[in-house]
Subunit: 228 residues, 2 copies
Amino acid sequence: MTCSLQELCLPRGLYGHDLERLDALVERQGPHHEGDHLFRIGDKFGAIYAVRAGSYKSYTVDSEGREHVLGFHLPGELLGLDAIYPGHHVCNALALDTATVCILPYTQLSTLASQISGLFTQIMRLMSKDISDTATLAGDFTAEERLAAFLVGLSERFRLRGYSPNEFNLAMSRRDIANYLRLATETVSRVFARFEKDGLIAVDRRDVRLLNLPRLRTLCESMGNPQH
Amino acid sequence: MTCSLQELCLPRGLYGHDLERLDALVERQGPHHEGDHLFRIGDKFGAIYAVRAGSYKSYTVDSEGREHVLGFHLPGELLGLDAIYPGHHVCNALALDTATVCILPYTQLSTLASQISGLFTQIMRLMSKDISDTATLAGDFTAEERLAAFLVGLSERFRLRGYSPNEFNLAMSRRDIANYLRLATETVSRVFARFEKDGLIAVDRRDVRLLNLPRLRTLCESMGNPQH
DNA sequence: ACAACTTCTTGATCTAGGTCAATTTCCGGT
DNA sequence: ACCGGAAATTGACCTAGATCAAGAAGTTGT
């Protein structure tokens, strides 16, 4: 069976028999509903997950009980790569809406990767991408820069998936966005309002339209190559 | 030839013939002197580097010319993993003191990794570790928490390498530390002073002694599992 | 041994964004 | 349609850390 996300996900660059062999070890899971956990901290690591539909957030809870959102995961993106090293999951992942995943059992995957060189390469590429992406958020950036980068990044990711890069729906709450960007929800609210007043975006609840993508890009260009 | 860092680095878990095959493709480079570049942004990606001796820092320069320190790299640690995905280096790396590296040509490495399953596993583990580590710094942490985590992290890394975890020399300037922790140099200076006044550390220029590691750990435990 | 740098420290303000508090808006359940 | 609770917005204040400015302490070269 051929997945429509082939070009974004692990199978990229695989064809014919190799693709079939990868396909044979993939299981599907879901649908998960909003709030369902895909995995939790401490769960034994056994598989990498690829989002098929919907979206997930990954997060940790620190010793004081504060939640820290680590990332949002759209279709075609992988989850669980950080668990390989310690052998158990180091964050929680839950569905933000109705969502499904492919399960890629790690042992079988690594056996296959040693037989199909294109698969090895693709895994390395995706992990490498993860390493550079995580760096993006660290930094002494202003609230404007952070939110602009967030919106531009989402826009890019939607575009890659064939959706409109200018108009989309946020699966996550203001609180989640704020937490992810390391800001207070109030600040996120205020910056949304400011962006709207300045004609950069139009926002109604969780529906966002980017009215001036070039200026948003300018705002966050100091954060390094914004996205991908 | 057997490297003393074997247990920290790629060869981990490899023995006999497999180890020889890996060894055969490794080249040495250096010594680099303080300020020498190992690679620069935009350089074509061709190899992964493993630090043998001394230390390196990796950094970017944003569109406004500001430098952003991404990390410090001690013996046994890998550099350049983030370049696999885009195919060219996305940060600069320079030596902080007299330092040498092993060069692992990527094409040959990936061929070998598909033949030696232990090597594949080890590469995945190290990349996975990189992914979790980068997450550590992002967060709304106080200057105290950041510096404490930095010191505790270094202490761990020195301990793993057989050096004293309680007394070590900083290869990097206050300015680099500040930049890495996303603080002003003045703030770093002040927090060093405060830690010393509170009896947590003794610091003389770049020589640091950790006098109260448990309390330092407490200070930064909210930043998630501090290290490794 | 001195000058010219650079790095580090210390002190005095300033400000972005956090915190606290009060509404307003939305949504799901009965 | 109504109620209750969460989510989001808006306003008033308040701190951590940046910025500005000055000086101390190393370092390097001649």
